[in-house]
């Protein structure tokens, strides 16, 4: 469609449609930015990342869900899985999960909101450079996982040498995606709904930027 419009010939009928399409095309990146902003805000309510620990004495497994600004267990609040995982972690000398990424979690909600606002600004204030305002949101999924990975590595590498199991469990780097093994536990890490939502937002931003870029390249002079 896009290529058709761009390479269309100049009959009067096609010119009319070309003008309409141009106008549509001109606004499409803005629409995509707004869509990405909405997705960002929606993502707050869904977990970004999850971890399942499986062991014989936990028949249903232990599931931890990481939201953009906090961590919870599974839906039933009575068994607080984060606390349970924390309790298990103390045997190998791992720091408390509640202490992890405190700064990031404290700024997470304002940050998401600001990224969404920047997208809105980029959508409505159309200058040559305003596309730059979409970059934080575009990079967000990767930044989130990278930060998570850094914290996981930090936690895995900095075990208390005086912990009960310090002699049998050596420092390790837990995988941020996929399976791992620690003691009798099999761990399965995965990205969850919230992350897929922000990733979809990134995709929208990517498409919008491509359109803008290609629009610039083929823009008729005058």
């Amino acid at each position: 469609m896009t290529t058709n419009v761009i390479s269309s010939t100049n009959t009067s009928a096609s010119r009319a449609s070309q003008t309409a399409s141009r106008r549509w095309l001109k606004w499409l990146p803005s629409v995509l930015f707004l869509g990405a902003a909405v997705l960002l805000l929606v993502s707050i309510s869904a977990p970004y990342w999850g971890l399942v620990l499986q062991a014989p004495q936990y028949p249903g497994g232990l599931r931890m869900r990481v939201f953009v600004n906090n961590m919870t267990g599974d839906e039933d609040p009575r068994l607080d899985e984060v606390r349970e995982i924390d309790g298990l972690n103390h045997y190998i000398g791992m720091k408390s999960l509640y202490e992890a990424a405190k700064f990031e979690r404290s700024i997470a909600l304002p940050a998401v909101f600001i990224m969404a606002v920047l997208l809105v600004v980029a959508a409505v204030w159309r200058r040559r450079w305003t596309w730059l305002l979409a970059l934080p949101a575009f990079a967000f999924p990767v930044v989130f996982l990278a930060d998570l990975g850094l914290w996981m590595a930090y936690y895995g590498q900095n075990l208390d040498p005086y912990a009960p199991l310090s002699s049998s469990i050596q420092p390790f780097t837990p995988p941020i995606l996929g399976e791992g093994v620690i003691g009798q536990f099999k761990t399965i890490a995965y990205v969850d709904t919230g992350w897929y939502i922000i990733a979809a937002g990134s995709l929208l931003i990517a498409v919008a930027l491509l359109i803008k870029l290609s629009g610039r390249l083929v823009q008729p002079k005058g």
Partner: protein, 664 residues
């Protein structure tokens, strides 16, 4: 010649040998396969163990593989153990022991936890640390078990306890100070407004002294109506009351339901008012109470009694409200109807329209019609007993009598219109048809079959059998004797609970499983559909006090532990989590009064910690989220190694600490 003979011999022998080898070759692999099969296929195992087809059917109906859950839970009293048992059906697996009137170390009950509940059951300051639990009653809503509460009576001391089925723990013990024994309890009204506790042996009201020769004039019977406050989860003492009854030894009671809601029925077995004294030349009780031709079914108008109580007509006996017998008679709260001598049990049918009474010394079960009772009361009875209580004529209220066999005691009901009555002397369960409309009019009132049980059956329990809609399917015979059913463990033998399949009509009933009960005698039980029970997996929040069912303000959060002193009063604030208690050193002085709170901050299912302090008789079970506070006097100096008594984790043995008591 010789060589020819020899030759033929050799040929014959060779041929025989060849055949033998051939046979061996053909048979051996088969024999080998079947030898391998003996450890593989179930038919062979059944054959080897001598199991019949019926046995295999019973196994298929009861065997519950690992990981599969039972369909029903049976709550059985544990008699003189003062406890209640929760048993899964059809597997007959013991799921839980609930201590009620007696200390029990596994639950820590009476060893630092639950002491205040046990103390509620002390009478006039007398420590009573056992009970004779008889009849458990599940709470009901609209005549159906609702799975929320369980009540149980103590025959010996006339007490009633409340158990919360969210955590299967005893919350309250009450005692009517006007009387000292019971038997006809507990039974609930269809919406658990009241828990009914009928007394048994006649006594002077209020625990007074009176000479036994003055039995008729100075002794009484009694029935207590405990008002249950569902929101508070407690019996409301101030809204409870009792009714004085003639000293006829009221036995077992049941609440009316549907058409008979608001009425209570109790059999009795000493209308003779015999008072024993075999050594004085009097007839012994066993003869004296059985002399007369009839005893009395008690028909109590609870709705009217409640109104009389609320109108203030009850008198105060040791702080408890009792409606005196004269007031009972004046207000028409009690009617009597003759029953064949020394009967047992009074069991209301599912639709509330009939009451079955086992003959005990009479081979019949007598069935009374509630409609006929109402008509006879309306017609105005002409007979009276020696106290002036109106007596309804037997023929005016009796619906049917069914001859069942020897020693009929208790009756339960199923969903097919059958009734089941235990036959103590016959050691059998009689299935009989209720010939009335809505049950089995096609069969009429008649005995269908008898299932022999082992042995001396007392109560029966049928799945949801006390409700307005029994489930049928399973019946449990609670046998008093087991004799030869189990391996001998010395002269004291267990009781035998037998599971019986009653799902098929007619004479097809089958014993499925024998379960030995050791520790006490389960008198009665009730069987509830498992999915009605909504027990907590862990306490809802960390710091939970099971007595208040809320977070305890004294609960200890991690990071706030410590030992503080105020004069001689020491407060210990401790948390427990796998695999350590904090603090691990508790330093106090000899002579200190110690108040110790320990909170299990775990959230994982089954992560229970025990907590024992040697010498000081402390042992707790602290379930996930639970917070317990106990107190003691540090009377002996020394070093005491406290530790976790419930194996909790790989480092369970390390979960300990030292209490250092410095000498004065």
């Amino acid at each position: 010649m010789i060589s020819q003979r020899l030759f033929s011999k050799v040929v014959v022998i060779g041929a025989v040998a060849a055949v033998a080898v051939l046979v061996a070759l053909v048979i051996a692999p088969k024999a080998m396969t079947s030898a391998q099969g003996s450890s593989l296929d179930w038919q062979t195992i059944a054959e080897q163990r001598g199991l019949t087809e019926a046995d295999m059917r019973a196994a298929a109906m009861t065997y519950t593989p690992s990981g599969k859950l039972d369909e029903y839970v049976m709550f059985a009293s544990a008699g003189q153990g003062g406890q209640v048992l929760a048993i899964g059906l059809p597997s007959m697996r013991l799921l839980r022991l609930i201590s009620v009137f007696a200390p029990e170390p596994w639950q820590g009950y009476g060893y630092g936890a639950g002491n205040e509940v046990l103390e509620q059951g002390f009478i006039d300051g007398q420590e009573i640390l056992w009970g004779d639990t008889h009849h458990p009653a599940l709470s009901e809503t609209n005549g159906e078990y609702d799975g929320q509460w369980l009540f149980i009576g103590d025959k010996a001391n006339g007490r009633v306890a409340v158990i919360d089925l969210r955590d299967f723990e005893t919350k309250q013990i009450v005692h009517n100070p006007a009387f000292l024994n019971d038997h006809g309890g507990t039974f609930v009204t269809p919406n658990t407004e009241y828990i009914v506790e009928g007394a048994q042996y006649g006594l002077p009201v209020g625990g007074d002294y009176a000479p036994i020769e003055d039995y008729q004039n100075s002794y009484s019977g009694m029935i207590t109506f405990w008002k249950f406050d569902r929101d508070a989860g407690r019996i409301d003492y101030s809204k409870s009351f009792a009714m004085e009854l003639p000293p006829y030894w009221q036995d077992l009671c049941d609440s009316g339901k549907l058409v008979s809601e608001g009425w209570i029925f109790c059999n009795s077995f000493n209308a003779e008012m015999a008072f024993g004294g075999i050594e004085k030349g009097n007839p012994p009780f066993e003869a004296g109470v059985s002399k007369g031709a009839v005893d009395y079914l008690h028909i109590i108008n609870l709705k009217a009694a409640e109104a009389v109580f609320q109108a203030g007509a009850a008198v105060d006996v040791k702080g408890f409200k009792v409606i005196p017998l004269e007031t009972v008679i004046e207000n028409g709260l009690l009617y009597l109807a003759p029953e064949p001598r020394s009967p047992h049990g009074a069991d209301v049918t599912p639709k509330g329209d009939f009451i079955s009474i086992g003959g005990k010394l009479d081979p019949h079960v007598s069935v009374y019609s509630f409609q006929k009772i109402k008509d006879a009361i309306a017609a105005g009875p002409t007979e009276k007993d020696p106290f002036g209580v109106p007596v309804l004529a037997l023929e005016s209220v009796l619906e049917a009598q069914v001859e069942l066999g020897l020693g009929p005691l208790h009756t339960v009901y199923d969903d097919q219109g059958y009734a089941y009555t235990s036959l103590f002397l016959d050691s059998a369960v009689a299935r009989w048809s209720i010939g009335a409309e809505g049950y089995r009019p096609q069969d009429g009132w008649k005995l269908i079959n008898k299932t022999p049980v082992q042995y001396n059956v007392g109560h029966l329990a049928a799945a949801e059998g006390d409700t307005t809609t029994p489930d049928g399917r399973f019946l449990v015979a609670l046998n008093k004797w087991s004799v030869d059913r189990f391996l001998s463990t010395g002269p004291l033998l267990p009781q035998n609970l037998q599971l019986i399949d009653i799902s098929q009509p007619g004479d097809q009933t089958q014993i499925l499983y024998d379960m030995p009960i050791t520790g006490a005698e389960p008198h009665y039980s009730q069987i509830i559909k498992a999915d009605k029970l909504k027990a907590w997996e862990v306490y809802p929040e960390v710091g939970w006090n099971p007595l208040t069912q809320s977070v305890d303000p004294n609960a200890v959060a991690q990071g706030t532990e410590g030992v503080t002193r105020d004069g001689n009063n020491v407060t210990v604030r401790m948390t427990a989590v796998r695999s350590h208690m904090t603090p691990e050193h508790v330093e106090i002085q000899e002579g200190d009064h110690v108040t110790w709170t320990i909170t299990n901050v775990e959230r994982a299912r089954d992560a229970t910690h025990g907590f024992a302090i040697p010498f000081y008789n402390i042992n707790l079970s602290i379930e996930p989220g639970e917070s317990i506070t106990f107190e003691f006097e540090a009377t002996r100096s020394g070093v005491f190694s406290f530790y976790c008594t419930e194996f909790c984790s790989a480092l369970h043995l390390e979960m300990m600490g030292y209490m250092m008591v410095k000498p004065q």
